[in-house]
Symmetry: C2
Subunit: 242 residues, 2 copies
Amino acid sequence: MNKMTIKSKSNSHIKDLAALKNKPAKYFLIEGFHLVEMAYECGALSEVLAVKDPNLNVDTILTTIEIIEKLSTSMHPEPILGLAKMQEEAKNVGNRALILDRVQDPGNLGTILRSALSFGFFDIYFLPGTCSPYNSKAIQASQGAIFKLRLHFLDQEKTLEELSSLGYEVYGTSLRDSLPLETYSFDKAAKIGLIMGNEGQGVRESLLSKTKANLRISMGGIDSLNVGVATGILLHHIYSLK
Amino acid sequence: MNKMTIKSKSNSHIKDLAALKNKPAKYFLIEGFHLVEMAYECGALSEVLAVKDPNLNVDTILTTIEIIEKLSTSMHPEPILGLAKMQEEAKNVGNRALILDRVQDPGNLGTILRSALSFGFFDIYFLPGTCSPYNSKAIQASQGAIFKLRLHFLDQEKTLEELSSLGYEVYGTSLRDSLPLETYSFDKAAKIGLIMGNEGQGVRESLLSKTKANLRISMGGIDSLNVGVATGILLHHIYSLK
């Protein structure tokens, strides 16, 4: 564990960190006390930068609020930043998985990850075209859920193969040609995978055609739900199965 | 129905509209084709500004994209804006009401209104300190739900009085001292009011102490949900009561 002080914006390490701000690679920046603490508790924190020493058992850089501002995406950041390590290849050892097919808005993604953690969907599959969980807005909205979930980055075919080989029953979601969630008989003891889709286009047809069933949330009128809300309702329903 | 062309940013009517951008008063601006159409269908559109005549039976101002940009909150707006009229005092004639106690984020508010419309909660009470439904981000996130809901702006006491006099059973939501939603026996035939609270602080104690019961969503772990997601789960549950 090293401790050092850096007060120059042109310091090469600060420049390296600044490069991660928009392009996370192996490591990513996290902002504020809550996320730094969560990353620390989960063993994902590799370095902390702060104006005042937070006394964590991790490499620490004492720095200025100007440098924190330079590295932060917030206009008025908390005086602490963390450098966190991206997950290594995760292994699906659970029985509830969420598959994201091109969910695009980082805020939606973050609330989805938060809900997934709350309802025990610990394995998350990010199909190509889905917003990165290392996007800083997504991390904020997830409230740090990202550190407690297992993240998988496989293409569509490999995702379905993996889930199938693990014995998952995979469900799609769609407003058309689908069954109402509320009356569907799930096998609670089975491993359950759920696919949620893009904000505008939903889940792609080539996935919907390979599921055990496709479900929809019953609603009055012709209206639709925000994808974060819809995901929350589905995960809660499956979590609460009797 | 009048039609005219305005191409000068310093035109006094454009200046009046610009003043509404941040301070809606009696009227408010809406952006894009979808919202303009929705306001039109709901009879709330009093004027449209567009680069190309949309041929709506309403006062129309043909204008430039520069003026649209000036009036819009978006960097790259669609070439159409509407001037919509705020609701007059609404009358609660329904049987499902949502009471918002200091929900602050406009995005959260918008998704909540969208869910309320989807699940038949047509009467919305905005307690003091709650984000305005006329906030432009809230309108966008609501996808126009605002035009189909009945909006009420009363203080806490008057809200509870009104709901009580109409025969509502009012429920609070709280993580502490509350009953699990999933096993609570609602009277489906009753009028049901649900209070959702502030992102950080939840529903205030002085409301929780006056409800029929306070409910919570069952979750694994110690985590919490985004207020928009939590609201969606509660509204869906009540909508789906058997």
